[in-house]
Symmetry: C2
Subunit: 183 residues, 2 copies
């Protein structure tokens, strides 16, 4: 039976979130994986915000329970690190023992991004340490991932909406190399 992958990421904040979810689900299918995305077009947006966010949370957790694996878009989002919600979801998979895969379109390392962030918006408290292990994000992110964080292999960042590194992640996790559609 086809593995179900929870497609976590800040993709839900994109102007064309629905299109992105559809493209990812189609790519998953080409690799024999059933993708499910935390994008619910049936959500009742007329609810008060305090009910709406709880509904989204409940829906997302239910989807994670249904999934066998997570494929997380860990491209940095509004700061030196990946999207906050995606990181909580990544940790959830680690805690449940379900395999976790992740990728980032950004080729810069975490220490360099942290320095850029501190230059743009200085830490409130000066003198804090910058984690520098040559990794692409905080060590807990890298450690939580089966096979490590998948990055642009040529060291060149891809645009935020590119699915090239997402597909590379699919190739790695299905271990089918470059011919996903062959038996």
């Amino acid at each position: 039976m086809s593995r179900i992958a929870y497609l976590a990421g800040p993709d839900v904040f994109l102007p064309d979130a629905a299109g992105m979810a559809a493209r990812k689900i189609a790519l998953c299918a080409a690799y024999g994986i059933t993708g499910i995305a935390p994008f619910n077009p049936g959500l009742d947006f007329s609810q008060p915000p305090s009910l709406l966010w709880r509904q989204i949370y409940k829906d997302d957790v239910a989807m994670m329970h249904k999934a066998d694996i997570i494929i997380a878009n860990l491209t940095p989002f509004r700061g030196a690190s990946a999207d906050a919600g995606t990181l909580v979801e990544l940790g959830w998979f680690l805690g449940t023992g379900k395999p976790a895969y992740g990728y980032s379109n950004n080729a810069e390392n975490f220490a360099a991004r942290s320095q850029a962030q501190m230059a743009a918006l200085p830490d409130e408290l000066p003198g804090t340490a910058v984690e520098d292990f040559g990794l692409a994000d905080n060590l807990m992110v890298e450690g939580a991932l089966d096979g490590g964080l998948i990055l642009p292999p040529d060291g060149v960042s891809r645009p935020f909406e590119s699915l090239e590194i997402f597909e590379l992640c699919l190739q790695r996790l299905t271990a089918r190399g470059d011919s996903p559609r062959l038996p």
Copy 2:
């Protein structure tokens, strides 16, 4: 028996990380909780970075296994959201079903911080949505927490190193009100 609390947070990056860990552990003890902090003074820093970060990861996960609950410092860190490693750890507790508590010294809401972040370092892709449910961080963070994110009750942000809101969190989770040392 005393509950063991994993004291997650970017506190490890503070200039006096050891002192902060000691102060938090002492406060926990006053509330009948055994605090354990991901700060290991015995770590062998002469290891190559690629071994060192794996050792820290392994030590942190082992500590989380030993803990009954997490108390996460979710004060924003180098971006609109909380520290990346702390968020993965929060998700881990959610996934394992162990209770998760968290606080933030920052009283500003997530949407306002996200806008400030985008002004300082614009999103690579314009037109992305800003999550605005009146919450203090991404909805997955708030949803993961038993009792929600504990914030400055007067709406005034505290300095990063203040332990006032951490102590408020201890009071809430022990439900002892303001007299922790009384039976």
